[in-house]
């Protein structure tokens, strides 16, 4: 057990560091928050730069143009890029980290050839159409129907919380293809071209006043059967395959940012009680960084440990504590949301909710790790 980086890892860090120092000053100025066309240009331009330098698809296999980097290298990549305040993955998120890996694992040769190179080069933006108004935590209860009609599925329903829905060219779409099967068994995974007739995308204004998410209404949208990924009615498994690509690095950028915010509070917190609370928060962030290192190590060995299922819950709580402390320290100085620390407090309210609420996380930990029985279902 040790925390030393190998010489190869140190060399990778140095090389990446040098590249970032040279490349970041060449970037155009960042777009404003609500200028979506400019955001797409900026984020995909960054993706193209990563691609040209050999840093695109860090976790992807070489056969699909990726770098096939070890989990430790992926950790270093995220740590260094975030520290250098390089652009975030932004609109490339769904394609690079979700749809792409799903296609690699389950897509047909045609689907892979058509999409993977374009995703890696920043030529194609994806969005996610999973959740529904009546299927949030109970995602498998989704109702959007897909009825076979020759070579097409005719899709009708409503999706919500579609990240980057207003700019995605393709959506990862979960539909119900067998209404009679048990809920996990009748789902299929489709590639949805977002320009098909019958699709209506409406942005949702979040409590930040911005629109990172959309509602997507589908009215008899004809999706080619050739766009199905995997076997019909096997979509739940296809969806979960993506999770096996996770290498314990999902929250590295978040962690680097959280530690930066906490360190920035240090010189301005004078009240002894608030200083002590900051000490507790810093200790929690130190511990979570150590847990990240453990999760990355175990993922690299192919034996994920309990920490993989625990990280999000623990991070949610530490980040909330940091956010609340920020508000206490800033006081009436927090009235102006242009202060990015305040904006971060607002943004991070989504962490205990998105991608499995803290309550769902606790159920998973209790049932999968502690072996406790499920609560009786309502029928």
């Amino acid at each position: 057990m040790d925390l030393r980086l190998s010489e190869a890892d140190e060399a990778f860090r140095a090389e990446l560091h040098a590249w970032l120092r040279a490349e970041l000053p060449r970037l155009p100025s960042p777009p404003t928050r609500d200028d979506w066309p400019a955001r797409v240009r900026y984020d995909t331009d960054w993706q193209r730069r990563l691609f040209d330098a050999g840093y695109a698809g860090m976790s992807w296999p070489r056969a699909f143009g990726g770098r096939d980097a070890s989990p430790t290298e992926q950790l270093i990549f995220l740590e260094e890029t975030t520290r250098a305040q390089a652009p975030y993955v932004g609109v490339n998120f769904v394609g690079n980290l979700h749809a792409g890996p799903t296609l690699i694992a389950e897509g047909s040769e045609t689907q892979k050839a058509e999409h993977l190179p374009r995703i890696l080069r920043g030529d194609e933006v994806w969005c996610q159409c999973f959740s529904e108004p009546e299927a949030g935590s109970d995602l498998a209860g989704l109702r959007t129907r897909a009825v076979r009609d020759g070579d097409h599925y005719v899709v009708t329903g409503q999706k919500i919380w579609c990240s980057f829905g207003q700019v995605g060219e393709f959506g990862e779409l979960l539909v119900r293809t067998d209404p009679d099967a048990t809920k996990h068994r009748g789902i299929s995974w489709l590639i949805l071209p977002m320009d098909l007739p019958g699709i209506d995308v409406r942005p949702i204004e979040t409590l930040l006043g911005s629109s990172e998410f959309c509602e997507v209404f589908l009215d008899e949208v004809r999706v080619p059967v050739a766009n199905r990924v995997g076997v019909e009615n096997d979509g739940w498994r296809v969806t979960n395959v993506t999770l096996s690509f996770e290498r314990g690095t999902a929250f590295v950028s978040e962690m680097v940012d959280a530690r930066r915010l906490a360190d920035e509070l240090r010189p301005i917190v004078v009240d002894p009680a608030e200083r002590r609370e900051l000490g507790h928060v810093l200790a929690a962030l130190d511990a979570l960084w150590a847990l990240t290192q453990r999760n990355v190590t175990q993922a690299g060995h192919g034996t994920p440990g309990p920490g993989a299922l625990m990280f999000k819950l623990a991070y949610s709580e530490a980040r909330d504590r940091l956010g609340e402390l920020t508000m206490r320290v800033l006081g009436r100085g927090a009235f102006d949301v242009h202060d990015y620390r305040v904006e971060e407090r607002l943004r991070t309210l989504s962490i205990p909710i998105a991608a499995g609420t803290s309550q769902i996380q606790r159920n998973i930990i209790g049932e999968r790790l502690l072996g406790l029985p499920k609560e009786k279902a309502w029928t």
Binding site: M1, L3, R275, G279, A283, W289, P306, Q359, L372
Partner: protein, 305 residues
């Protein structure tokens, strides 16, 4: 970077765990710390791990297991003093606030190591008199006596050694606390499966399940902090040992205390009884929070570093 237990470390962990399960079960633990317990631990090499070539991560792994079994005694002090002071060594930190001078395990120790900002002195047990035993100590497995004065004794280390002992002491105490925190998860989890109400195991209720999930997360996060601190003390090129140890003591202290309380809650009325072992974990957690720096003191150190 390989932040996981090596095969040797897994073997060490399992070996100490087997030793504890075989010889130091709770009926034995409840009899308290005595000379035979010390001798068995010493024979197993638990006080000489450093001298025998083990690294700090290994020692931390062993102490997690001792904490899991709630083995009583001045284990950390005896490990710190190994090779420098003979016999069973207890310890005292000075200044320790305005409170009374309390000597732990006064009837078993041979020497008392006294740590202050100038260094470490050693006082023989027999010159500690007069001692007044507390007849109702907070932790029944940590007997204490009140001393009126701490006599002088030979100096065995300077301020640097005292600082090193404080850091190692905090690390090993934190390791022990992580073991306690995990034991609380395991025991309360087992009880939640076994105890039925409303015709089903209480662990099936989300209200109970979520309490247990929080406990499991606390133990796992604190373990990562303790292991990272041990690796950093072992190899200071990977970080700041003082910061890492302070963070570990904060997280492990919270984990031991809050998990013991969580376990008490899961056990319901039984958790409030003397016969069920849960209270022993909570009382030890409170005791250990006061040694080698409280969580608040370490939090202050982290923010000021």
């Amino acid at each position: 970077m390989n932040f996981d237990l090596s095969d040797d470390q897994v073997a060490l962990r399992d070996g100490v765990r087997r030793l504890c399960e075989g010889r130091f079960d709770l009926p034995r633990i409840r009899k308290g710390f005595d000379r035979s317990l010390f001798a068995e631990l010493a024979d197993a090499g638990l006080f000489s791990l450093r001298a025998d070539g083990f690294g700090w991560p290994d020692v931390a792994i062993a102490f997690q297991e001792l904490g899991r079994a709630l083995v009583p005694g001045p284990l950390t002090w005896s490990h710190l003093a190994h090779g420098q002071v003979d016999g069973i060594v207890g310890g005292l930190e000075r200044p320790a606030g305005d409170g009374p001078i309390l000597v732990e395990h006064p009837d078993v120790i041979d020497h008392l190591a006294v740590l202050d900002d100038d260094g470490i002195i050693v006082v023989a047990r027999e010159v500690l008199e007069p001692l007044t035993p507390l007849d109702w100590p907070l932790d029944p497995l940590t007997p204490v006596s009140r001393a009126t004065v701490v006599p002088d004794g030979p100096r065995i280390g300077d301020a640097d050694l005292a600082a090193a002992w404080r850091q190692s002491g905090a690390l090993l105490t934190a390791a022990y606390q992580v073991g306690m925190a995990q034991a609380c998860v395991d025991r309360a989890g087992a009880y939640a499966l076994e105890r039925h109400q409303f015709a089903r195991p209480i662990g099936s209720f989300q209200a109970v399940k979520h309490l247990l999930a929080d406990m499991a997360v606390r133990a796992e996060v604190a373990r990562a902090a303790v292991d990272a601190a041990a690796c950093t003390v072992e190899d200071p090129t990977v970080g700041d040992p003082a910061r890492a140890v302070s963070s570990a003591k904060v997280m492990a202290g919270d984990a031991a205390r809050l998990n013991a309380k969580g376990s008490l809650q899961v056990h319901g009325g039984m958790g409030f009884t003397w016969d069920v072992d849960v209270h022993l974990y909570l009382k030890r957690a409170w005791v250990l929070d006061t040694v080698f720096g409280t969580p608040d003191q370490h939090a202050d150190a982290v923010v000021s570093a």
